[in-house]
């Protein structure tokens, strides 16, 4: 069985980092990622089950890993070699017991909740975070009877979604896919769960002006989560949801998913200013403004130095900036954060949420959002594992190529039909050649 294996290799790491400096995802061929013959991972314990992936997405954190630009912070939280892939919809060939205790028949579809918390690691007592249902904050992701790995897809013992050999998952990681929800929708549930968690962590108030920076998968997922959770009374309704998106297709999708306004990133400050009716400092420019007031909450779904700086420049005093996109080492001027008493908070993963005081698994809410918003529309193209270099390159340039989410199709036996934008790329190449 074939799978993609990510090994510890300093020369390959250096090579991919160099190539990726010319564009994210371009270095997959020289990176520590390779196509290999893999065996099904062994079941680590009684509550573990086999999962056969059907679709597995390529996440921004996967790209950062392949590009060699992940923070060294994660060094102790992963174990090599690992099979990437933590956005997974698949089946349980032998049946299983799901996180909510439901017995799943053989062949039932599941979505993976990839965090490897205390229960999955066989730890007892649970760490305080896991005991409180906040598995994303688990303090023991490097401990227990399986090797370190903050999530499936970064752990040497569990396998990952980018493998036709399958992976193994603890019962607490399995969520049955509701009848009628397509695989394309289901594969977006994991990033949606991140978005749901971020939205609920931000605790917005009715009428808040909310800004979202970036409209890749995470930005669009946050947009959908804000709109759908508010529509269901799970959270307060923003007065305005303003999305800054670099590409036209992202703006269209953001609007479809519930943004009040979606516009190019360089116009975001102006839109936030108008919605928040704030003053702006300095002479009025055409592009960016430094706001005296600003948005109540900013979701930074990019995680770069620029996006964090922009977030801090458009958030109101005592507002919140929620880092949803994974940042690395950055240099940011924090004078404004200090002066304006801004809360800069991270939002990672999921666990149990408490909308309206009711304890609800984040993934249950994410399924609600996926079904209502039909987030399968974010899946732009799928690839077989054999074309992983193209897939990673496509994911690395998704925005520019009119795409959002790229995934591996683990059931594809032959190269699938080309996606529309690939055809367009091919036509462009031909035109250039001619």
């Amino acid at each position: 069985m074939k799978g993609l294996l990510f090994e510890r290799s300093l020369p390959r790491f250096a090579a991919s980092r160099l190539v990726a400096s010319f564009g994210s995802g371009r270095g997959a061929g020289v990176s520590p990622l390779r196509l290999a013959d893999l065996e099904q991972p062994a079941l680590p314990g009684d509550d573990w089950h086999r999962v056969q992936p059907r679709l597995s997405g390529i996440c921004g954190s996967d790209l950062a890993t392949i590009d060699g630009r992940s923070s060294r912070y994660f060094e102790e939280l992963v174990s090599f070699p690992f099979v990437p892939g933590h956005e997974v919809v698949g089946t349980v060939p032998d049946g299983a017991v799901a996180a909510d205790g439901t017995a799943l028949a053989a062949g039932a579809r599941v979505v993976l909740e990839p965090v490897l918390g205390c229960r999955a690691r066989g730890l007892d007592p649970l760490c305080p975070a896991c005991a409180a249902g906040r598995t994303g904050d688990c303090e023991a992701v490097a401990f227990g009877h399986i090797r370190p790995g903050l999530q499936t897809g970064f752990c040497a013992d569990t396998g990952g979604g980018w493998s036709s050999a399958g992976l193994v998952a603890h019962s607490t990681q399995l969520h049955p896919v509701p009848e009628g929800l397509a695989d394309e929708d289901a594969v977006t549930v994991e990033p949606l769960a991140c978005a749901v968690h971020a939205v609920l962590a931000a605790a917005i108030d009715d009428g808040d002006v909310v800004a979202v920076i970036g409209a890749g998968t995470l930005g669009l997922a946050v947009t959908a989560a804000l709109a759908q959770l508010a529509a269901r009374g799970r959270t307060a309704a923003p007065g305005a949801l303003v999305v800054g998106a670099r590409y036209a297709h992202q703006r269209r999708l953001a609007t479809e998913l519930g943004a009040t306004t979606a516009l190019p990133e360089d116009q975001l400050a102006r839109a936030v200013r108008r919605r928040s009716r704030s003053l702006a400092l300095g002479p009025p420019g055409v592009g960016s403004l430094r706001l005296a007031g600003g948005a109540d909450v900013v979701f930074d779904c990019v995680g770069s130095a620029d996006s964090i700086a922009q977030s801090l420049s458009i958030v109101r005093p005592r507002g919140k900036v929620v880092l949803v996109g994974m940042p690395g080492r950055t240099t940011v001027d924090l004078a404004g954060l200090w002066h304006r008493e801004v809360t800069l908070m991270g939002a990672y993963a999921y666990g149990t949420e408490h909308p309206g005081g009711e304890a609800v698994p984040t993934f249950d809410l994410a399924f609600e959002v996926a079904a209502a918003a039909r987030t399968g529309r974010l899946l732009s193209a799928t690839y077989p594992l054999e074309r992983f270099e193209e897939a990673v390159a496509h994911a690395g340039s998704a925005g520019r190529r009119g795409a959002v989410k790229i995934a591996f199709d683990l059931e594809a036996t032959a190269p699938p039909p080309r996606s529309k934008d690939e055809d367009e790329d091919e036509r462009t190449r031909r035109r250039r050649r001619s």
Binding site: T261, L263, R270, A271, R274, R277, P283, P284, G285, V286
Partner: protein
């Protein structure tokens, strides 16, 4: 030889290409045989002695007004208000009409022993003028005598302390104007009436009003029922201003109106070919056209803008009349029609127009896409009496580069209007309902209007409302040579050439349409019968 009246040329095989303005430049277009070209009348003679003419007008007022000296007395409060930078176009060679008139008024006030005199630029919601612009309009002598002492100010429509609500008209329209002017013993208003729309009760009721007042007539409903703005009896905009003006008078505000008209001598000698009929171009005119177009092609946009905005027009004073508002304005209007009126027989399927680099709201600034729309559809389309030059369902073809560019200090709310309103709707009624108030009351725009040189936050809406009649009337609007993205944002169709535009227009008006070219500037008013 006496000046020739306006003229409608029928294009035939021998007709040379016709000049189209194209922003900071111009182009020659060959129009189909049978097309009509409407030319402005040649400039009428100016008054021989402008100072004497002004003095005569002040001493021999129209209507039931007394001569100005009889209205002046020691101890009174006198306020002199004047039109702002939006008039005339292009700005005129010094001395400006405002300077000529105000110097005479001040001389008479001084002779009468009036000490409490204030000068106020009637900005309405326009941007504040710079010192240089004020000096040009008023002359150094007036500026230096008043400005350093805080006696020359600019109307601030957002200064609640300096506004007074005089009441409501019989139709419930709020009348709120500048407090100093309302509480003066005499308000002298000095106009430059470039077109028939200017002046009359509109001077005070609009120029010195607040948003609370202006919103009653600057809205889509009023604009669409102003057919046209140049024909006051058929203009709801003017009816509203007239109701307000009469309420102002009934409230005890004494207005002494001074209106001045100009001839159509619009361009200095180096650009004289721009106001000649093409078949009469001399060798020198052709050389000037060729040299200037060649040079402009190689000139950066910013420099082109500076060159054109430095043009001072040799407009000359054609008439000056003073006294009671309505009596004065009747005479003014007849002078304007005498200078600018051209009789045109019947409507056309396609109306073409070349849009110049300037309109009332971008003097020393950038002609942004919203102003392009307003110049073509708000102003030129409406320069008619009787019926529009183009038939209902017809097509307007405008020539302008329509750059996606804005002056950030002058037009900050325009940027947001373009990015955040026109992306949602181009329907004046819908934007009035959904967006206008939030722009009008936005604290940043208000701050920039009051302290910088920004048009008021609501101003881009007004520009779009000016287009409301044309938008409702036309089947299609095509812009030749414009930035395609900016043109589309306006809801119009971009065309790369006039031939393409005509082909696109044929989809709307059929294969053998009639075509009329509105050859301005120099300005003209079409009397369409």
């Amino acid at each position: 030889m006496s000046p020739r009246p306006g003229f409608v040329l029928e294009v035939d095989r021998s007709t040379p290409p016709i000049l189209f303005w194209h922003g900071e430049g111009y182009r020659l277009e060959r129009l189909p045989e049978g097309s009509r070209v409407v030319y402005a009348p040649e400039p009428l003679p100016s008054v021989d002695d402008p100072v004497a003419a002004v003095r005569h007008a002040l001493l021999h007022p129209l209507g039931d007004a007394e001569p100005l000296p009889a209205l002046l007395r020691p101890g009174m409060r006198l306020t002199i208000c004047f039109d702002d930078i939006s008039l005339p176009l292009p700005p005129m060679v010094a001395p400006d009409n405002r300077q000529l008139v105000i110097e005479e008024v001040l001389d008479m006030a001084a002779a009468a022993g009036v000490d409490d005199v204030r000068l106020i630029a009637a900005l309405a919601l326009h941007r504040r003028m710079t010192e240089e612009e004020l000096r040009h309009a008023l002359g150094d002598r007036v500026y230096d005598a008043f400005a350093p002492h805080g006696l020359l100010t600019q109307h601030d429509a957002e200064d609640a302390q300096d506004l007074v609500h005089l009441g409501q008209t019989e139709l419930g329209e709020d009348v709120e104007i500048n407090k100093r002017t309302a509480e003066s013993d005499l308000l002298v208003y000095v106009n430059i009436n470039l077109v028939a729309m200017d002046g009359g009760h509109k001077s005070v009721a609009t120029g010195l009003a607040s948003y609370r007042s202006l919103r009653h007539h600057h809205n889509p409903e009023t604009m669409v029922h102003s057919r046209s703005f140049m024909d006051a009896p058929a203009s709801e905009l003017h009816s509203s201003n007239w109701r307000m003006g009469r309420l102002i008078a009934a409230s005890g505000v004494k207005v002494f109106q001074i209106e001045t008209t100009l001839n159509t001598n619009t361009f200095p000698p180096a650009f004289e070919f721009l106001q000649r009929r093409e078949w009469e171009w001399s060798l020198r005119d052709r050389a000037a056209y060729l040299a200037s177009t060649t040079a402009l092609r190689r000139t950066p946009d910013r420099l082109k803008q500076q060159i054109f905005h430095s043009i001072k027009s040799p407009h000359a004073l054609r008439s000056v009349q003073a006294g009671e508002v309505e009596a004065v304005h009747d005479v003014t209007t007849s002078h304007i029609w005498e200078q600018q009126g051209v009789a045109v027989a019947g409507q056309t399927d396609i109306l073409t127009m070349g849009l110049p680099y300037i309109c009332p709201y971008n003097v020393n600034s950038i002609m942004n896409p919203i102003l392009v729309a307003c110049t073509g559809l708000g102003y030129f389309f409406n320069m008619y009496r009787g019926q529009p030059l183009v038939r209902e369902g017809g097509v307007v073809i405008m020539s302008h580069p329509t750059p996606w560019a804005f002056h950030p200090s002058h037009h900050p709310s325009y940027i947001d209007f373009f990015e955040q309103v026109l992306t949602e709707t181009t329907d004046p009624v819908e934007m009035h309902k959904s967006f206008e108030e939030s722009f009008a009351t936005d604290p940043w725009y208000i701050h920039l209007y009051r302290t910088g040189h920004a048009y008021h936050g609501v101003h881009p809406f007004y520009m779009w409302y000016w287009c409301a009649h044309a938008l409702a009337h036309l089947g299609r609007v095509i812009v030749v040579g414009g930035d395609p993205a900016a043109v589309r944002r306006l809801g119009f169709s971009p065309a790369s050439s006039m031939d393409d535009a005509l082909e696109m227009a044929s989809d709307v008006v059929g294969p053998s349409p009639t075509l009329t070219h509105f050859h301005v500037p120099p300005l003209l008013l079409a009397d369409v019968r």
